[in-house]
């Protein structure tokens, strides 16, 4: 049974990510964030539920829609904003941007611009943990598009063969870019992809942070006990389309309403209030506090210095 503190940690995590992504949207619309930004809004339960099942020195590897994972693993909000808007104090000196945020302090191997990029990286981190005998676990977050990438099969095979402490977490938000995943994917249910390698595989509700946390906790325990990888699929939804500015003409209102009605944040709030763990007014107060913190971090990032073109040739190789 999860404690009230743990449940509130989930709540805080999800609300922080939602508020963070709203600020990112504003920054992008104001022309501050270069390139494209892919928001995690709607998928918060997956990142928060999964990372809460990890130790601080467990590894994660993330994808292009990865701000939520960075926050859930404990990165600093102002430096995240700074990287997204290309400032010198960002996690990659402003060079990486939204899709390339690496944070060694939180054992985060990075968001990644290549579909499937996180999968072999987490597999390799798990191999390293196993060889070094550290007991660490690695989680690979990836989207449904990776279900059709060859690297997934290569990595599942390797992880199963070598019984590596890695958890493969597929976030199925229904769309690869602008195409419905079901229109381009054979082999259902998709969890069969893990089962093909005798990897314990499970589908769970990605709009329910408790369900995510439970499934990932089981998988992490298995990995830490030396029982090898797991393959998890969480059905979830991205509210903002592929990237900020995507008009989402491929979705209808009915679908949007359905998923909004399953939003993980009010779902957890309702549970907390109904269970008399907390009053709605207290949650409202918490929401407001989080918003203030997030906006302060965003403002802090905007004040950070611009990157210096004189630094461009640094860090191509070790000094």
């Amino acid at each position: 049974m999860l404690t009230k503190d743990k449940l509130l940690e989930f709540y805080r995590g999800m609300v922080t990510i939602r508020a963070f992504e709203e600020e990112v949207r504003k920054m992008h619309n104001a022309g501050l964030a270069p390139g494209l930004v892919h928001l995690y809004s709607g998928q918060e339960a997956v990142g928060v539920g999964a990372c809460a099942a990890l130790n601080s020195d467990d590894y994660i590897a993330s994808h292009h829609r990865g701000h939520g994972h960075c926050i859930a693993k404990g990165s600093e909000l102002d430096r995240l904003f700074a990287e997204i808007i290309g400032r010198r104090s960002g996690y990659g000196m402003g060079r990486g941007g939204s899709m390339h945020i690496y944070d060694p302090a939180t054992f985060n191997l990075g968001t990644n611009g290549i579909v499937g990029g996180s999968v072999p990286l987490a597999t390799g981190a798990a191999l390293s943990a196993k060889l070094r005998g550290t007991g660490q676990v690695a989680v690979s977050f990836f989207g449904d598009g990776v279900l059709n990438q060859g690297i997934l099969f290569e990595s599942l095979n390797m992880a199963a063969l070598w019984s590596l402490p890695v958890v493969f977490v597929c976030e199925n938000n229904g769309y690869g870019e602008f195409t419905e995943i079901d229109d381009v994917t054979a082999g259902r249910p998709y969890a069969k992809r893990g089962e093909a390698f005798d990897i314990p595989s499970e589908k769970a509700d990605g709009m329910d942070v408790l369900a995510v946390h439970e499934a990932v906790s089981k998988a992490v325990t298995r990995a830490r006990n030396g029982d090898g990888p797991s393959f998890l699929i969480f059905d979830t939804y991205r509210y903002s389309g592929h990237h900020v500015g995507d008009k989402q003409e491929y979705k209808d209102d009915e679908e949007r309403e359905l998923w909004l009605s399953r939003d993980p944040i009010p779902k957890l709030a309702d549970m907390l209030v109904a269970g008399k763990k907390i009053k709605q007014a207290e949650l409202d107060e918490l929401d407001a506090k989080i918003k203030v913190t997030v906006i302060a971090a965003a403002n802090q990032a905007k004040k950070m210095p611009e990157p210096d073109a004189d630094d461009l040739a640094r860090h191509i190789y070790a000094a």
Binding site: Y91, P120, A125, Y317
Partner: protein
């Protein structure tokens, strides 16, 4: 000094570093129990066991991706890509992931990772197993590119690559595996980024790499004996970093320069070096820069067709004699 083959030098270089540093691990296809498709890893599995010397599935993306993940988390992996042609199968991991990580993270990531691969022609394997692709690697900022021509350089440069904090692609020329040479006794570690003047001459400088080095040396001996032309031969050894100082000083001294490349002509490494020479010491030159290359044609497997394509000692001799005369 002991006489070793090029393939024995590979084994010695890896073993030397694995004995010294337990963080060094080795993974690839057939490298363990089988001792490598070119027998260039025989004995390593016996000595270091299957935790540190791992036979992998034929999954080039997962091999390099996992090696990268391991390199980011405290190990120093050596990953073998059996034939350099197969780098195309996992090029995403090389060019989008491995090469860019230090830079995109603002220098936070060390990637001490060596990709060993059998490169080049001469073994009649046809167009998908014989390419010389060191020029592909040279184009990507963020990786180092080494291609030794002698057993001593194999051992010393491989050891240096394994100790390097940056990713290194180590191109072993597969036709050289059986060649022999003196290798210093005891620990031997060379320096990446230094070219070697392997023959001093006054009339022309021949710039060569890997298999082209012994062919250039043979041509140089004949040029001296049959045409009275005194040729310097420079073994480039490392394309990234490139030792422009040694190259330019030889070119200035001889005022004539010929590059000998095994890679196909368009965008071969000789084109880049020719461009550097033209920028840096054009007015020191007495003749146009000459490039001898494999033509821009896929390689054939038939003996006479492959021989007609890859620069031979005869072709180097004839070309230099005509151009210098």
């Amino acid at each position: 000094m002991a006489e070793l083959t090029y393939r024995e030098a590979v084994i010695e270089g890896i073993a030397q570093e694995m004995r010294r540093d337990e963080k060094v691990v080795f993974l690839g296809e057939d490298i363990g129990k089988a001792g490598g498709v070119f027998k260039a890893t025989v004995g390593l599995w016996d000595e270091f066991g299957d935790l540190r010397v791992r036979d992998t599935p034929i999954s080039e993306q997962a091999i390099l991706g996992a090696a990268m993940g391991a390199a980011m988390t405290g190990l120093r992996p050596i990953a073998e890509i059996m034939f350099s042609d197969f780098l195309a199968v996992c090029w995403d991991i090389v060019t989008n992931q491995i090469a860019k990580s230090r830079y995109m993270t603002g220098g936070q990531v060390d990637l001490p990772l060596v990709i060993r691969t059998a490169n080049g022609g001469g073994a009649r394997f046809g167009a998908q197993h014989s390419q010389s692709v060191e020029n592909w690697a040279m184009m990507i900022p963020g990786i180092k590119v080494v291609a030794p021509s002698t057993p001593a350089d194999v051992k010393g440069l491989l050891a240096a690559a394994i100790r390097d904090p940056d990713p290194v692609i180590f191109f072993e020329q597969k036709s050289l595996y059986a060649t022999k040479g003196e290798v210093p006794d005891g620990e031997h570690v060379d320096e990446i980024g230094k070219a070697k003047v392997v023959r001093e001459g006054d009339d022309v400088t021949i710039l060569a790499l890997a298999l082209m080095v012994p062919r250039a040396l043979e041509a140089a001996e004949r040029l001296q004996a049959e045409a009275g032309i005194s040729a310097s031969v420079v073994d480039i050894r490392s394309l990234v970093p490139l030792d422009t100082q040694t190259i330019l000083s030889q070119v200035k001294k001889t005022a004539r320069v010929v590059t000998v490349e095994e890679n196909p002509r368009l965008c071969g490494w000789g084109a880049e070096i020719a461009s550097i020479i033209a920028e840096e010491c054009f007015y020191d030159l007495d003749m146009p820069i000459v490039r001898i290359t494999t033509p821009h044609i896929p390689l054939s497997s038939a003996d006479e067709l492959e021989d007609a394509m890859i620069p031979s000692a005869d072709r180097i001799f004839e070309t230099v004699r005509q151009e210098v005369d």
